[in-house]
């Protein structure tokens, strides 16, 4: 019964979750993206459209900011003053950062977005009432709202195009919020396969659609708990700690030799995506 439950496990319920003293148990999915390898070719983005049933909304809706690219490639210039962009551009793939302390989660009135046991920031479509508070509170603006009912909108999925829709992924109706899920449908399959074989998912066994497509392999994805996973090693090497809003390395003076950083870390969102700074040659 609830009240007895409440009283018996009070101390548990008062625990911050997750935290250094209470890390994730088996899985903590995380990503690292090497901006020096990202060429901005958009393959990841299109792969995401294919995998996650994202609608191509068309010019008119796109112009109103109704686009649905869960993974968008942002293009930055570093040459405000110079005549030419003569050190090229910088491309940055931005998707839901699956924050450990996600601002979107606490504000959802109906609890449609929650933290899962393996560290994902889940979005429950059929619970969502569309208050859009989560997006308002997302510093990365990585959440996308179904402004229209795309399945019934002309030329979004005209027959026979709807046959391409991935049956593993819900086709969202109007009025719900959606965002990158780290291809949770793939993770689920991998996890259940592993479970049936009585082991845990090993590194490289499951790939996100964007990672799988990326021609330069700029995106790596895996389980942060597993010390053998590439991602864990990268985070370790770059001295980026998950539950920190300031990294110790930034204090030491040669910390700038490391490329790893997380975007808007200072907002204490604890993102699960680490980026590696882009490099530029000085000799030319």
């Amino acid at each position: 019964m609830s009240i007895t439950n409440l009283l018996q496990n009070w101390s548990d319920f008062r625990q911050q979750h997750p935290s250094d003293e209470r890390p994730h148990q088996e899985y903590k999915w995380a990503m690292s993206i090497d901006l020096d390898l990202c060429t901005g070719c958009n393959a990841c983005s299109v792969a995401c459209y294919a995998e996650n049933n994202l609608p191509a909304v068309g010019k008119e809706k796109f112009s109103h900011g109704h686009s649905h690219h869960w993974l968008r490639i942002e293009r930055y210039w570093h040459n405000e003053d110079r005549e030419y962009a003569d050190q090229g551009a910088q491309f940055l793939p931005m998707m839901c950062q699956q924050c450990e302390a996600a601002p979107c989660e606490t504000v959802c009135p109906v609890g449609a977005t929650n933290h899962t046991a393996d560290g994902l920031n889940s979005q429950v479509y059929n619970r969502c009432v569309g208050s859009r508070y989560c997006n308002a509170n997302c510093p990365y603006k990585a959440r996308y709202f179904n402004w229209y009912d795309y399945p019934t909108t002309a030329d979004v999925w005209p027959a026979p195009m709807e046959q391409q829709l991935n049956p593993d992924v819900t086709v969202r109706g109007k009025g719900v919020m959606e965002k990158c899920t780290f291809c949770v449908q793939r993770l689920t399959v991998a996890k259940s396969n592993a479970r049936t074989e009585g082991r845990s998912v090993h590194d490289g066994e499951v790939q996100t659609a964007c990672q799988q497509a990326c021609p330069t392999g700029a995106i790596s994805f895996g389980n942060l708990i597993d010390p053998e996973s590439r991602v864990a090693k990268q985070w370790e090497k770059q001295q980026v700690k998950l539950n920190h809003d300031k990294q110790a390395k930034d204090a030491v003076h040669d910390g700038d030799k490391l490329r790893g950083y997380r975007i808007l870390e200072n907002l204490r969102t604890y993102p699960s995506v680490m980026y590696l700074e882009q490099l530029r040659e000085g000799a030319i």
Partner: protein
Amino acid sequence: MIENSFNRRDFLKVLGWGGATVALSGCGNTSVEDGREYVTSYVETADYIIPSIGTYFNSTCAQCDAGCGIMGRVREGRVLKLEGNPDSPINSGKMCGLGQAGVQAHYNPDRVREPLLRNGDKGEAITWEKALQLVSEKVASANPGSVAFLTGGVSGHVKVLLKNYLDAIGSDQHYVYEAVAPSVVRAANKKAYGVEMPRLRLDRAKVVVSFGADFLGTWVSPVHFSRQYAKFRKGVNGERGVLVQVESKMTITGANADRWLAIRPGTEGILALGLVNALSAAGLTVPAEVAAAVKDYTLDRVSNDTGVSVEHIGKLTALLKDRSPSLVIAGGAAEGYAHGSQNAAAVALLNQVLGNVGKTVEAPASMPFPQMAPITGNRSSLQALNDSIAQDGVKVLFNCGANPIYSAPASMNMKESLKKVPFKVAFAHYMDETAMEADLVLPLNSSMEGWGTVVPEYFAEGAQLNIQQPLMEKLHPGTLGMGDVLLALLKQRRPAEYSGYEDYYAYLKNAMVAIKGALGGENEDDDVFWDSVLSQGVVKLTSSSNALVSSASAAGLQLPPPAVEDGTYPLRLIPAVTPNMRDGRHANEPWLQESPDPLTTIVWDSWVEMHPKTAAKLGVVEGDIVEVASKNGAIKGQVYVYSGIHPDVISVPLGYGHEAMGRYSKGVGANAFKILDPVFDQQTGELAMYETRVKVTKAGKRVIVVKDEGPAGGNQSGRRIALRMASGKVNLAEEV
């Protein structure tokens, strides 16, 4: 991956059932209802089909000619998504956006669904029997020599059949046309190295200087080069490769360069020779003959002509000298001029002087079966066809995989000259501009429905033969594979030879099994061999490769001085080949329209790129609608201003502005092909794409440019979002 041992036919039956389930759910697949397929229920299905579990089948991506191996995820008889085939040396499991969009070509609602015969100005549906009958009559009635085929790049068994058919009717008119292809560079390479396209080893180079070769986006085999680029950036023992891009309009490769050098259009060759000169001055051993040839290309003169600063030329020289091996690539920007061959040759010369030949420029594997080797398309062939038509040497024209009416410059007046051809047959996927003009339209299978073999234009490692196999049952019963059609046509001509084959599948299997020895299956049972081939999707061929010419020679190199400005047409038009649109054949795939152009982030429209200076001179700002007028026509477009382009040029992307094709492409943007000036490369006769002179005038309105980029543009206004640091600081070797 699937097991080798299963019966292909069962598979198709099951897919038939998959199709049927789809059909019953009203998705327009009628193949079962009209008894073309018979149904096998899932109760007695083959054991590799498990409802709700995706099965992967290997095939080959047909979105461009790179020939990446793909792996189609099939569920309940429907192909859902394409992944890269890890066993394919070209893309080793990776894919580009264009390839990903292949499923949308397959499921596209605007596909042609049954043969159409022109009746007045509309087509009426006819049966294939009737269609083929008609074709054989027309061909029979025509003089054998006057039957012509216009195709895109072809290879594999289709090419063989095509060849055989042409022989059968005794015609030699086969024109292979590609609107955007590095034909000039190929020719120049042939001269310089003895091969059209050497194998480029970015992964081994420490410095890559690319003269406008967009190898990360659109050039030759982008995914493969991207794979190499990754290795190149990681470097051998942590020495990060340095990329320098020389071009007048930034490509996505340029956007990733450590140094992007905006060069005055057409002077790429001058810079190359200037570098040779500077290198020899810096003490690099250069053949006397070459040194003599380039001695006039002094630092100042080169800097003056090209607009590249002395400082940068100096640094570049030092870089090339110190960090060896390097790799110099000539691409679109170099070849797109009347003296394109010269530019390319100069670049090749630079490579040879640097001693890269044999190190980063390797001999490509040769195809052991020349009859299947790809014919690479070019633009001059279209010119040839045009001439042949003009002397009315063409009575029956088969058109397949080419859309000349859309992609030929207005000056060629393709539409009119095609009217001179009495009977035009178009093998079409969409009702594109050329199909609209055809007398008979024959709908083709999508690359996910048909059988075939593909030989990539560019071998990543050894020679290879790619398999193309159906990933699902036909969507539209009225379509046929190119192979099947050719086979049918051949049966009309050489029944003795071909009537034995029930369909192209039978022919293909037979043909493959016949050469199984060469394909590494000599002591395997036919079916086992065939199944393994199908499951692998890629057959690696044992091949030799002959050495390259590495002796540098400047013989016959003379480069014109930088072009003088034309008063009435002050600007140069660079028709940009973008990763999404390429030559526009995939414009009807919404994913590609919606995925923002990497540099401008513009969607669903074309645009006119210009440098802030140019914009200021013209008094226009972003969003202004301007008219871009050349001697051969004018197009309108929205202005996009940014500093990734030389002030002397403006750029309009290709691939937009279709007048037909489908709901997603028709009327979207403007077609830059149309206004290209008829200027040709002197040596190869290729259309010089970058030679068009234009004037830009305001056309009144101003619109809000629909793009992903916000009002902040590429500016982070102080937030720490996209960070960049000097490569000197990090030790990549230590990184994971």
